[in-house]
Each structure stands twice: as C-alpha cells, then as structure tokens.
C-alpha cells in the first residue's frame, strides 16, 4: 500500500505536467481554429513549441545529470539541417507528410544523438566540468561547418563541398543542377510542414520519454551520479554509460526541436544556432527550476511569448526589454528565495526536485 502511494505521488506530479500542457494545447487549438487568434499569436506557436522541447531536453543534462552544457543550439542545428535535407531529398518521392515528417524528426534526432555520442564519449569520461567548455566549442564548430557547407545535386548525383572556393570548382550539369545547402545562405525550400499540432505532439513525446526515463532504474542511476559520483561508483553504477545515456537523449530531442524549427521557415541559416541561443535555453532551464520539467515548460512559454507580446502593446513597446529584464530578475528571485518560492509554489503548483547543490568533491575520499 505504501509502495503504491509513492508511485502515485510521482505519477500524479507528472500527470499535472501533462495536464497543463494539454490545457494549453486545447486553449490554443480553440483560439486558432475559431479564427480569434492574431497573426502574431499563430506565428509564435511553433517557436514556443521548439523552445519548450529545447528547455525540457536541456534540463535532462543540466538538472538530472548535473552537467553544464552550453551547446544545445549546436545539436538543434544538426537536427535542423539533417531533417531539412532529408525532407528536400524526399519531397517528390514521399508525398505524404504523415510519413515524411515523422521520418524527418527521427533522422534529425538521430543525427543530433550521434553527434552527441561523438562529443560525449571523450568528454564524459573525464572528471570535472569539461562538458561546458567542449559543448561551447562544439556549437561554434558546427555553426561554422554548416555555414560553409555546400550540397547540390545534378544528374550525376550529389556534390559536397566545404567552402565557397571548393564549391565553385565543381562542374555541374547546368540543366539539372539543384542547390540543397548553400553555405552561409543556408537551406532554402524546406517544406513548411510544422504547425502547432506537430509541436504539441512532440512536446508530449519529449515529456513522456524524459519523465519516464527519470522515474526508472536508469534515471535513478543518472541522478545518483549527479548527487554523489563517488558513492554511485561504490554501489556499482557505471558512470560513463549513464552520463552518455542522458546526454545523448538530450541531444536527440534538441535535434527534434531543430527539425520542427527548420520546417517552420522558408530558409534556415546556421548563424541562428549560436551561443546566444544555447544560453537562452539555459535561461529557461534555470528560471524554470533546475530539475523541474514543468518549470522548464512554463518558463520557455512565458519567456518566448512575452517579448513578442510586449512589442504589440501600444506605448509599452518602448519599455519592452526593460519589462523583460524585470521579469527575468523577478523569476530568479522567486526561484532562489525559499520564502518567496514556497509562496509561489502553491500558486503555480510547481514542483521541484530541489536545488542543485554545489558539488563538493574533495580530492581525497573519506
């Protein structure tokens, strides 16, 4: 009986999170389908969904695994380009969006996950906070590679080149030439498959996968590493394996968010996936509460929508960034002040696994 109660407590918390997302989805669906929504509102739907998926997936690395990643936009970039490339290649053969788009998500996600594995294998084996530095550098490298990548096809097949010089040397069959990825101009002509329906479906999938992972044998192992690596080792937890599982799943969903993002725009350029974007996602995670998936959802929605809506409110628009900054500070205070936090906890019904404590791993083990 007591066992049932604990299970119910976590699942209850998770169902509140699903319920909140479902309620927001129903509200948006009704609002949009009854034609009450403004152009701005409709245009914000997919970017909000993208940011929610990014925030929840980054929280797996930051809040559950306890590692700092500053390159989430890099994985998003990989997913965006891989997904778009796939969609452009198969646009004519796979005409059904119900088949092509899910495949694009899987391909975008797996590409990002694969790159996550390549980054993670060397870095996550080290002790210490190297991940932040490496992911930061990785994000810049990916951005620069994609910024200089040219892929075009003609009757003879696909042609790849890095750098415009190499690209210009390729001899194309002019009649059948089609540029797919055009260096700094990015990728143009991705089918605009994204909409809020796909967005919310993916938010649900992301939440279900990550919350189920957290509340499983593997999830407990991941959190034990965060709380005390030495103790985790002493009870036989494979540190590298579990760090990689968390990091790769996190990268997978960043890739999925990238696919959703790139299929919402007529053209995607690599410079969009920069350091600032990674930091923005980290801000969602920190302000929503490290380790709290529900907090990440709420913070990503509010902080994506707010600056845009403030732009729209007549004489307030001059103070847009000021209000945004005040809100950021207010959220930070609420999150870091125990008294305020308790007060708002009841109101917002947020749950948190608790603040991430400063790591105090001494050199010696006693």
């Amino acid at each position: 009986m007591k066992t049932l109660n604990t299970m119910n407590k976590t699942s209850k918390n998770n169902f509140i999170t699903y319920g909140i997302v479902l309620a927001i989805f129903i509200f948006c669906a009704v609002y949009i389908e009854t034609d009450m929504a403004t152009f701005l509102f409709k245009g914000l739907m997919v970017p909000i969904c993208v940011n929610v998926i990014l925030a929840v997936s980054l929280n797996l690395t930051v809040g559950i695994l306890g590692e700092l990643s500053l390159g989430h936009a890099g994985f998003m970039c990989v997913g965006a380009f891989a997904g778009s490339f796939f969609s452009m290649m198969t646009q004519e053969t796979l005409t059904s969006v119900w088949i092509r788009f899910p495949l694009a998500f899987i391909i975008g996600g797996l590409s990002a996950a694969f790159i996550g594995l390549l980054v993670g294998i060397p870095v996550l084996r080290l002790r210490g906070d190297y991940l932040a530095i490496v992911t930061l550098a990785f994000c810049e490298i990916i951005k620069n590679i994609m910024n200089n990548l040219y892929i075009a096809k003609d009757i003879n097949g696909l042609h790849f080149a890095i750098g415009v010089g190499a690209y210009n040397e390729i001899e194309f069959d002019a009649a059948s030439k089609q540029v797919l990825i055009n260096g700094a101009m990015g990728i143009t002509g991705t089918p605009n498959d994204s909409n809020y329906f796909w967005g919310f479906a993916l938010i649900f999938i992301t939440l279900i996968v990550i919350l189920n992972l957290v509340n499983s044998r593997t999830g407990r192992a991941i959190m034990s590493i965060r709380d005390n690596r030495i103790a985790a080792e002493s009870v036989g937890i494979n540190i590298t394996k579990h760090k990689l599982i968390a990091f790769v799943i996190s990268a997978f969903f960043a890739g999925v968010a990238g696919v959703l993002y790139s299929h919402n725009l007529s053209s995607v350029i690599a410079t969009k996936f920069d350091y600032n974007y990674s930091i923005l996602v980290l801000v969602f995670v920190v302000l929503g509460g490290i380790g709290s998936m529900r907090g990440s959802v709420i913070a990503a929605i509010i902080l994506t929508a707010l600056p845009e809506f403030l732009r729209d409110i007549g004489n307030l628009s001059d103070y847009r960034m000021l209000i945004y900054a005040i809100l950021l500070i207010a959220m930070m205070l609420i999150n870091n002040n125990d008294y305020l936090h308790q007060m708002t906890q009841g109101v917002l019904g947020k749950f948190r696994l608790g603040k991430k404590s400063k790591k105090n791993e001494q050199e010696g083990v006693s």
């Binding site: 066992t3 499983s216 407990r220 985790a232 009870v235 404590s357 083990v365």
Partner: protein
C-alpha cells in the same frame, strides 16, 4: 572456516608519504573485524584501496580467494565489496527509498528503453525493487521515512541509510567507516545491535573502522591496529586493546 578477505603487504604512498605500508590481514567469513588507530593512521586510505578508489603501489588483496588488486571501484563492488563513508555520501536530492534502490541497481534488470516506454517488465521489476528496498529499510527502522529526502534525515539515520544502501548491492564483505561517529551513547548501543543483526541475518563479513573503543570491544572479534600506515598490533580484540604499545599510540606519545 574460509577466509573472506585477505590482504598481503598492501600499501600506497602519496608522493613520499606512505599512507598505508605493508598491511597484511585475514578476515574469516562471517567475522566482525575492527580496523583501529589514531587519526591519520591510514584507515580510510585502506578502505579506499580495498574499494579501488586508489590503486595500491604495493601488495595485493583477495576476496573469497579471488585477486581484486587493480580492479575499478565498480568491478570491486560487483565482486562483492560494499562500503560506507566517513563523511556521509548519500544521494542528497533523492528520497530514502530511491537511495536504496540505486544500491539495488545491479541486482535487478530492465533496460532504459523498457523504462521509457513503460513495457511490462518495468512495472514488475519496480515492484520487486520496492519490496526489497523496504525490507532493507525495515532492518534499520527507516521504512516509515522512505519518502523523505535523504538529506532531511537526522545524522544517525543518514549513517544507517548508508549501510542499507551498501547492503542493497548484496555484498560478501561490508566496510563501515566510523559508523558510530556523531552518535550519542544510546544510538551507538542500538547501532551495535544492528551491526550484529546484519552479520547474523545476512551472513555478512564486516570490517569496520571505529574510534569508539566501547563499540570495538563490544562487537569486534578481532582487530588490526594501524599507526602511521603500519600494523602496530593484530589479534583478538581484548588482548590487543590491552597491549601497552597500542595504549601508548592512542595516548599520542
């Protein structure tokens, strides 16, 4: 009676400092064995050697006849050595129950995918894990606090939870580093009963470090005394504790 743990001339030096120097001891299966000595004698370092945290620079150690020297902490735990820490190391942001369930990790099996997609084995194995974890918590009178955050437990209970977590890995040998530190005399008395119970109930071999001589004299059948990394005395507890050399080392001159 067979030997559970045997160390042969085990040692490590940090730079010039020989923290443990030529430690040889032999612990019988089912024995309660004490490792004592003044501060800085190398007791915790010996535990770190036996759990693979440090690799010995000399000597070997064997568990149940198998040589474990050079293995990683994880491998050594899987071979059957579990420990607690002098400075408590719980999974602070996890519940009491989950702390023990992390200890059970390698004794139960379902994959990450089975957990993510909530396949049948997930529910079945989770139920078994919960039952096993509560059974262990019950031994230490902690079952009623299973949902509390482990860092919110009082000090004495945190020490007990660490023992429960170590036992969850179903070890052959349990290493306790100052289990009574910070406990009042009554708690210490209870702890002595619990340690005896663990030994009898789980058929456990226990090696413990302790400064509380009442506890050592009360439950340890044999002891080894370390001083400046070397063995000062070894043997049956009451006679070792009366050894003038040992008394002198403890008085600190």
């Amino acid at each position: 009676m067979s030997v559970m743990l045997e160390t042969k001339n085990l040692g490590i030096s940090f730079g010039g400092l020989k923290a443990v120097d030529g430690l040889s001891l032999s612990i019988e299966k089912g024995q309660l064995y004490g490792l004592i000595g003044p501060n800085g004698a190398g007791k915790t370092t010996a535990f770190n050697l036996l759990t693979g945290v440090y690799k010995p620079t000399m000597g070997n150690f064997f568990l149940d006849g198998e040589k474990l020297t050079g293995m990683s902490t994880i491998e050594i735990n899987k071979k059957g050595v579990a420990r607690t820490f002098q400075n408590i190391r719980l999974f602070k942001q996890m519940s009491v129950l989950d702390n023990v369930k992390v200890g059970l990790h390698n004794n139960f099996e379902y994959t990450a995918a089975e957990g993510i997609f909530r396949l049948p084995r997930h529910a079945k194995v989770e139920k078994q894990m919960n039952e096993k974890a509560i059974e262990l918590l019950d031994v230490f009178g902690l079952a009623g606090e299973k949902d509390r955050l482990s860092s919110n437990l009082p000090y004495g209970k945190q020490r007990k939870l660490e023992i429960a977590r170590a036992l969850a890995t179903s070890p052959k040998l349990l290493l306790l580093d100052e289990p009574a530190a910070g406990m009042n005399p009554q708690e210490t008395q209870e702890l002595m009963d619990t340690i005896r119970f663990v030994r009898d109930h789980f058929d456990m071999t226990i090696l413990l470090i302790e400064h509380d001589m009442k506890l050592v004299a009360g439950i340890c059948e044999e002891v080894t005394v370390l001083n400046f990394g070397t063995v000062l005395a070894q043997g049956e507890t009451s006679s070792v504790l009366q050894n003038p050399e040992v008394v002198k080392a403890y008085l600190g001159d």
